[in-house]
């Protein structure tokens, strides 16, 4: 049975600032739990083993959670732990909710494990020595990939909605702490970086030249189509005109428009 490791972090509520499940990591755990019938799922957290929020992950339906007890930079310790575990698949949210949150951890883990990486996955199925991953694309599109194992997968908001956390399993689940000597006690943010509360940046204004009516329209963000066509017709002619227009613009399936060379069939 292949091993699937899922990396879980502690999130922070965007409004209240309280600790909570990290949404993207919970989605990654959801993907992992869907593989529970064909793989062993290992949930791993690096940080404080006494963090109460970790129980919420247990409540989603895992028996135990391994915590690498350390403070400081987690990527080295996680990579070392995973090199020993040798999982077929590593799952993680694509970005943390606290700290620098640069989204680099999955990439450095993939580098350390010499694994393939697929970003923004929606689903995974394991097939022997490879995995089939569905990846989210812009505008709601999906793409299928066949990837050799080992594999690191990141999950973004297109990932599956995490299941509810139940109280009973959350209390019964075990948290196994492993004491790890953090390799570097260096602060995760170098001293020559300046950290400050984020400022709200002013929205960019459109600079529109023209008469008062045009400027007003630009504030209302209403654009008047310049080369508009108006058809005054009976329903059949109207339908014909709409259908022709939709096809001409490549807006209906199977009819690539004039300006869509990169569209995949």
């Amino acid at each position: 049975m292949p091993d699937v490791a899922v990396l879980l972090s502690v999130g922070r509520h965007p409004a209240s600032g309280r600790a909570r499940l990290a949404d993207l990591d919970a989605r990654a755990l959801e993907l992992a739990l869907r593989l529970a019938e064909v793989a062993r799922v290992h949930a791993i957290h690096a940080g404080d083993p006494n963090e109460p929020v970790l129980r919420d992950y247990l409540g989603m339906g895992i028996d135990s959670l391994t915590v690498l007890a350390l403070d400081g930079d987690v990527s080295g310790a996680l990579a070392e732990h995973l090199q020993q575990l040798r999982p077929a698949v590593v799952l993680a949210g694509c970005r943390a909710e606290c700290g620098e949150a640069s989204g680099m951890l999955p990439y450095s883990i993939a580098q350390a494990l010499q694994a393939q990486l697929v970003a923004d996955a929606v689903s995974i199925t394991l097939r022997g020595e490879s995995a089939r991953v569905i990846q989210a694309q812009p505008r709601g599109g999906r793409r299928a990939l066949r990837v050799a194992l080992p594999l690191v997968v990141t999950v973004d908001r297109a990932g599956p909605q995490p299941r509810m956390s139940a109280f009973g399993p959350a209390q019964r689940g075990q948290i196994r702490a492993i004491a790890v000597a953090a390799r570097s006690r260096a602060p995760s943010i170098p001293s020559d970086w300046l950290e400050r509360p984020a400022r709200v940046r002013p929205r960019r204004l459109l600079r529109v030249q023209g008469n008062a009516a045009e400027r007003l329209r630009s504030i209302q963000l209403v654009r008047v189509a310049s080369a508009a066509r108006r058809i005054d017709a009976d329903p059949m002619q109207a339908a014909q005109a709409i259908w022709e227009y939709l096809r001409e613009q490549g807006l209906v399936e199977g009819e690539p428009g004039p300006d869509s060379p990169s569209r995949t069939p």
């Binding site: 922070r12 990439y107 993939a110 400022r199």
Partner: protein, 365 residues
Amino acid sequence: MTRRTERRPRRQASVIRRDPRRERDPGAGPGDTAPVRLPAEHPEVAQVTIEQPESIVIAVPDLDRGRLTALDRDLVGAARVLADALRGAVLVVVPTGCIDDLGSAGADRVVRYSTPEAGTYLPAVLAPALIELAHRHAAWHLLFCERPAGGGDVGRRIAAQLGVRPAARVTSLAVGEAVCLADGGRHEIVRAPPRVLLIEAGCAEPVTGQRHQARPLPDLVLGREPGVIDLGAVRIDRSAVPLIEAELIISAGAGVSDWDAFHRLAARLGAAEGASRVVCDLGHLPRDRQIGASGTVVEPRGYLAFGISGAPQHLQGIARCERVVAVNSDPHAPMMQRADLAIVADAQQVMPALMDLIERDKRRA
């Protein structure tokens, strides 16, 4: 709404090309369809040529259907900030399918790569090719759009391979200073711009009023990555896509009462269903389908409005739609002003007619 439509006498079939400039001109007749020469948007465009750049800044836009997005223009603008400070040139890397004018966006040099053979997973092969390109041109900075499966993926691969800490979620960029959102957006980190920068929208002003040279350089040759095989796009139910991501939206207003026809048409066209506030207030469609300032602000490529008059709040919600088709019995409705194709007809009768037409077309094919 419907009653009023029935009383109105049926108009004669005619096609009018509407041109607002002409309409204001009393001398021009309504049927005059002679082409009107519009003044150039930027009368004096400065040509910028950089022959001997002291350094190169690489920008890799994400593109949408071969065109630069607003974020891509900000990305090239951000690259310009860094390049101008170093007296350097901006090198933009795009696929051969890119059909946009890169010179006016601010590109001094352009490198293209042809879409690799079927089955090649692009990010995995693009990352090493870009590192090679950066070495060849001694380019220091590489800029990408911060999108998880797009530039954000390629940029982080490169950062991991080069062993650098990238500046992620860069919201503001100046000489010697990159401001990155951290801590879930509650804090920002100010640091010197590193080699790899992942740019958020609004990070820098897009280039306007200048035309750069966009000199083509030899194409980028992509290698192979046997570990990942791209099996191609998966067919999806396009009408189930969230409104905000939808490509085609069919939207109903108070002028629609035949909901069966509306739902069938949406399913047949593979379009997401939207509605005006009135329709949602009456409970014909759920609240999450409401489009407008108090609902969802959408930006599909095509927007098909049936029986929507176009309240200002609704028009705000569709301000960024590319193509708008409106069917309304009132030719003076604001929605008809906004539309690229405005049809004066009763939505109730056009919907089944369009459905019939699609079915007939399908049978013929």
